[in-house]
Assembly symmetry: none
Homo-oligomer: 229 residues x 4
DNA sequence: GATGAATGAGCCTTCATTCAT
DNA sequence: GATGAATGAAGGCTCATTCAT
């Protein structure tokens, strides 16, 4: 029968190829969804719109993701994981709590700055991450838990070592993130045209001023300025 | 002739009562809506749900407010206005830029802490106020513009006088608000049981550390600690 | 108790007075409804609007009429009855079938011309009266049946006497009415400013031409022209 | 490479089929809507009802038409256009103003008689076309304007040539249409069982009697009677 | 009796999701 | 596997009608 040769028939494709195509779609969908969620928000985003943006059909989309929520969830999970990995990778070569913190900030900002759509989704969620029961999907929560713990424990250590003023580490972590977001929101608003490294230094400086005892802050602020020269 | 008593005459005292009841409903609706918006967000909120929460019918709700957007808008407008007024009233007796800032922070926090539902709506909006084009209703924008200008110009003055480090006033204003919100989010999350005055002092201290030169920060931190004793 | 003297209390009014007031309301409502139905059509008309136009409350309106349909029905019934009565009164002094017809036309037109709102309702209904199953209310049907019979039997007699060409009397009656309506629609459209007597003569002439044998038409057209001098 | 057969390629023959099915639905919807509008009127018609009548779901209906008004508009526009075209086509072979008029009448009647639902919608609108500002949709107005001009200018020419009595062409056009409608309403009411050609001849005869000088009318009435033998 | 505030059924429309082709 | 047409549940809003004051 000639049916087997119909253009859409892929039943004789090797599993490897099938998997590869599936991953291709997956990525295209995630990219498209990120863009649409960034522009329209979760409720405003239409599945049809996402499928069109990805250049596939609704059916294919649903064949790969279970629904709108699952898709959203997946983005948060994937991007969040990537972000955490990248941060973890970069902070490895850091020496000491403060350098660890500053490098982490830089990694975090650099990651988001190169993923503007995810950044915009992130900013849209606002402080949702700071009040966990308003998060749309559990995946977000898990990621944030992991990231938070990393950040929190760093702050806790820093407080112990005296490089940070005595504040609740949780609060410090949240404020740090919120501050980052404000800075990046401004960067988005101004057309994403500013130099991301200025952004990094600005946030680092602010963090030092906000959380370190004066003399510690002064020392490190000088270092940053020196590096920027 | 006693024409004034003709059957169709309603000019007696009725309007007063009518008005009173109307205001009663109005308030009940606003409270209910605030609660529902706080819990479900704008898109997730259902008019039917709001009406039920207010203990009235859909028809009555629509008799008083023009629709979902109008209702949301009204809350933002009213609460936003109240908040700005309260802040303006309290900062009047402040002396100097820094005291002005600290009193303003206290007023802002105290206002929101006593309106938890509005606070939660506020936190839901997240940074929408920081990227103006994502605001849902014009009323919100106007309010924020006014509030922002107040805050910004204060920071600008403070930078000129040397009580603040040299940062862009817009950024300072946004960071301040974001930080407040984080602190309050944590307070909400912990069941709204902590002493709001601790909240006030925490935020004030953080603001001082983050934006003032060390010696200025030190002096005022001492003052705050003294007052709290 | 002083309650008995409250302005809206009418329990001690004499039945005569009560009846009189009721009729007063009745008329006010009918006038208001006629106007609103004329302007907005049946579906577009709002009971609230009608009550306001009549200067009374919705409750009073519903105390006197059973609902929107009943109100509409009542107008059709009342106005239709009035119209038929007036026509019957005027044609009494007519001599012969043709004069009877011409006087009837005049009476019909004069009636509607002095009730522009009812006329507009009438025109809005279009040919509803010509396809009985689209009539909104039974009252309309009864009235039209009576009026139709009058007109039909006149045409039937005229056909017998040879003053009309042989056509189905029902059809003749309907065409006559439709033609009237067109003429009046034009009059309404032009701002109701033309002389109604020109309208009467125009319609009479058209009817003569359309339904009489040539020589009969010619004779009566001359009479009409003569009367108009 | 056989890129044309890639899984996401749909450029084959599918669009043809899709278009065909779409047109099928389109027609089914238009038919259903025509019927429902005919029976219930515009306001009374429910979209759910139309979808059910067409044997499809609401979603599909809305996928093809933008809404109730658009659907109504489309019917008026399409049917009106078809009618005008058919009339224009048939009157082409007419010779002289009077034959032109008679052929036009025949074409108009024959068109509506074969589209009973559109006819009933048409009759429901009543004289709306005679008072343009009551038309529901712009599409209707345009169609009527075009048709009217055709009819009017024919009457105007006929008046000039002396084959019609001197009456305002606008009025003549309107009366003609109203008369047609009455005749057709009767035909509908009687179960649409009468011979449409009788209808045509009846209306033609009436038009001749109503608008032509006696001798002209006599001559053409004889012609019609001859043709019917 | 008079009022008009209150009710809630019902309608148009959207969009996440399914499934026949 | 891929498609996208088809589905229908659900929500915002209106307005005829009722009934407590």
């Amino acid at each position: 029968m000639k049916a087997a040769a119909a253009p859409t028939d892929t039943s004789n494709a090797k599993p490897r190829i099938r998997e590869a195509r599936r991953n291709l779609y997956r990525q295209a969908i995630l990219d498209a969804a990120e863009k649409v969620f960034a522009e329209e928000g979760f409720e405003g985003a239409k599945m049809q719109h996402i499928a069109a943006e990805a250049g596939i059909s609704l059916g294919t989309l649903y064949g790969i993701f279970d629904g709108k929520t699952a898709l959203y969830s997946e983005i948060q999970s994937t991007r969040g994981g990537e972000m955490l990995e990248q941060i973890a990778r970069e902070v490895e070569r850091a020496d000491g709590v403060l350098e660890f913190t500053l490098v982490g900030i830089a990694a975090y900002v650099r990651f988001l700055v190169t993923r503007p759509n995810y950044l915009r989704m992130h900013l849209r969620d606002g402080h949702a991450w700071a009040i966990f029961d308003t998060l749309k999907v559990p995946a977000q929560e898990e990621q944030w838990q992991r990231g938070f713990e990393m950040l929190q424990s760093t702050f806790a250590r820093g407080v112990d070592e005296g490089v940070f003023v005595p504040l609740a580490p949780t609060l410090m972590a949240r404020i740090t993130l919120a501050t980052h977001q404000i800075w990046m929101a401004e960067w988005v608003e101004s057309g994403m045209s500013g130099d991301p490294e200025d952004l990094v230094r600005g946030i680092q400086a602010h963090t030092l001023r906000a959380f370190c005892p004066p003399e510690v802050a002064a020392r490190w602020l000088a270092k940053i300025a020196g590096a920027a020269r």
